[in-house]
């Protein structure tokens, strides 16, 4: 009987097979963007697609390096990151506080939720003219625009998070005599955190969408401005640099928030 193998060997074989599969998956993940770039490069250089509209990736990279060494790009990146982070915090922090209050106290929830339901469907960008009138054309208006669009997913998810807390945990807190403050910090906050972080993840994505559009409409610096002015001047290589930067920051922010989730939710 050839089938009767050493059990350790069989297990080792199985383990190696799994490792191989894992590595294959990693490679596939890396391979897909590389593949896209190669096809792009080929099509663009062979003239199958118009290189004026779709400059080859190598040309974009050299433009990127040019912009980087001239220092121009850093300015745009700095100002955009500042707007994103400030707007993000200005949206997330009130979102969490109002969301927790709404989740915990039914009267507050019933009072505020119609306002949120009514305001949420309006794209913040459609409000940009109003925001510009109220806050002027300075930095504040961009930060407020981003904050406005980040706020909604955070507040809605936080309320859902508090409501989703199993009633038995509230009983436990009450039975063991938790004070209002302890209840807030030891039950409501950690209990709603998983939902809240999902909301923050969504908010992060929306912040990036908003910053580009906001900078296209009412700014003279930032990545969105770079994209828009390059397009207007038909400098498509510069425009692509802007687009790729946005994609890069989006990816980094998602990774950061996933990391934060792992760190804050070891119990999940």
């Amino acid at each position: 009987m050839k089938d009767l193998k050493n059990p350790v060997e069989t297990e080792q074989h199985e383990w190696r097979r799994q490792q191989l599969q894992q590595r294959l998956k990693t490679w596939l993940t890396i391979f897909s963007p590389v593949c896209l770039l190669l096809v792009w490069q080929f099509l663009s250089q062979s003239g199958l697609i118009d290189a004026r509209f779709f400059p080859p990736p190598t040309a974009i990279v050299s433009t990127f390096i040019e912009l980087l060494t001239s220092g121009e790009l850093f300015q745009h990146i700095n100002i955009s990151l500042f707007r994103i982070i400030a707007g993000f915090l200005l949206g997330v922090i009130p979102g969490i506080i109002i969301g927790l209050c709404m989740g915990l106290y039914a009267p507050i929830r019933h009072f505020i939720s119609p306002l949120i339901m009514a305001l949420m469907p309006i794209p913040t960008l459609a409000l940009l003219p109003l925001i510009l009138i109220i806050f002027g054309i300075g930095e504040v208006s961009k930060v407020v625009t981003i904050a406005g669009s980040v706020f909604f997913p955070v507040v809605i998810n936080t309320v859902a998070g508090v409501i989703s807390i199993d009633k038995i945990y509230l009983d436990v807190a009450k039975n063991y005599g938790a004070s209002r403050k302890d209840f807030f910090l030891k039950i409501a906050l950690p209990g709603s955190l998983p939902f809240m972080l999902e909301g923050i993840q969504m908010g992060q994505a929306i912040a990036l969408l908003t910053i580009v559009a906001a900078e296209m409409m009412g700014a003279n610096s930032g990545i969105g401005y770079l994209i828009w002015t390059s397009y207007s001047a038909f400098l498509l290589k510069e425009m692509f640099v802007g687009l790729i930067l946005i994609s890069f920051f989006g990816y980094i922010f998602s990774l950061l928030i996933r990391g934060l989730q792992k760190k804050l939710l070891p119990w999940r």
């Binding site: 009983d171 436990v172 063991y176 030891k186 955190l193």
Partner: protein, 245 residues
């Protein structure tokens, strides 16, 4: 302790009982008879529409009661250790005291090695051990237990019952324990209270004078225990049949 209730959708009514300090009392009745309602009122989680109860204090610093819930009663975002310390933390006692008591009771329920783990990594039996340790660590006048072993398999249930009795005999706490298992009631308690179906009333009480420490086998072999088993069994049968009509 004295307690009474009458209501239009009456869950429980005319319940009057006294539990002695250090006594282990089991409350047995058909499902839906209001056992849990009674316990929740005593736990301060529900308000009675009429009636009153008092818990006599032996020490002013002690809380009145602590509850052991059916299941899912431990907080998933706290570690085993933090869960056991929960009641003490809520009372804002000194850090060193909390640490000492928590360690002691973790040791008692055999979970010292799991102190830093989160509940998701524990089995059902281990979770209930955490719940029991938390209640005992809180050192309240009376412990209220709402079918804590209801969801466990037979072997685990027996082990936990044994552990519970061992901690109880050491701490001399007063316990009011709800169950629908006759064996469990006979094995654990000094006194079994039988409840009728809705509206729940206490219809009779049976003293269990089997000497401690007990063995589960005694419940099955002792002729007196067997006759008590049958007595409770008949009562439950009648109640369940009666509530069907």
């Amino acid at each position: 302790m004295f307690y009474k209730k009458e209501n239009s959708v009456t869950a429980i009514e005319n319940i009057s009982l006294t539990i002695e300090d250090g006594e282990f009392v089991c409350l047995v009745g058909p499902s839906g008879c209001g056992k849990t309602t009674l316990l929740r009122i005593l736990a301060g989680l529900e308000n009675q529409s009429s009636g009153d109860f008092t818990i006599e204090k032996t020490d002013q610093n002690r809380p009145n009661q602590s509850m052991v819930f059916q299941e899912r009663g431990i907080l998933p975002w706290l570690t085993v250790e933090e869960n056991v310390a929960f009641g003490l933390n809520m009372r804002h006692l000194s850090k060193s005291f909390i640490k000492e008591r928590t360690t002691y009771f973790l040791n008692k329920v055999g979970l010292s090695k799991f102190a830093k783990m989160y509940p998701k990594e524990l089995s059902g039996g281990m979770k209930q051990r955490v719940s029991i340790a938390r209640a005992f660590a809180n050192d309240s006048e009376i412990l209220l237990m709402d079918e804590p072993f209801g969801a466990l398999d037979e072997q685990n249930k027996y082990i936990l019952q044994e552990e519970l009795l061992s901690i109880w005999s050491e701490t001399k706490k007063t316990v009011l324990f709800i169950t629908h298992s006759i064996d469990e009631a006979l094995y654990l308690s000094d006194r079994v209270l039988l409840m009728s179906a809705q509206p729940g009333k206490i219809v009779s009480e049976i003293n269990i004078d089997l000497p401690r420490p007990r063995k589960l086998e005694d419940i099955r072999t002792d002729p007196e225990m067997t006759s008590k088993f049958i007595e409770i069994w008949n009562h439950l049968q009648v109640e369940v049949q009666g509530s069907r009509l």
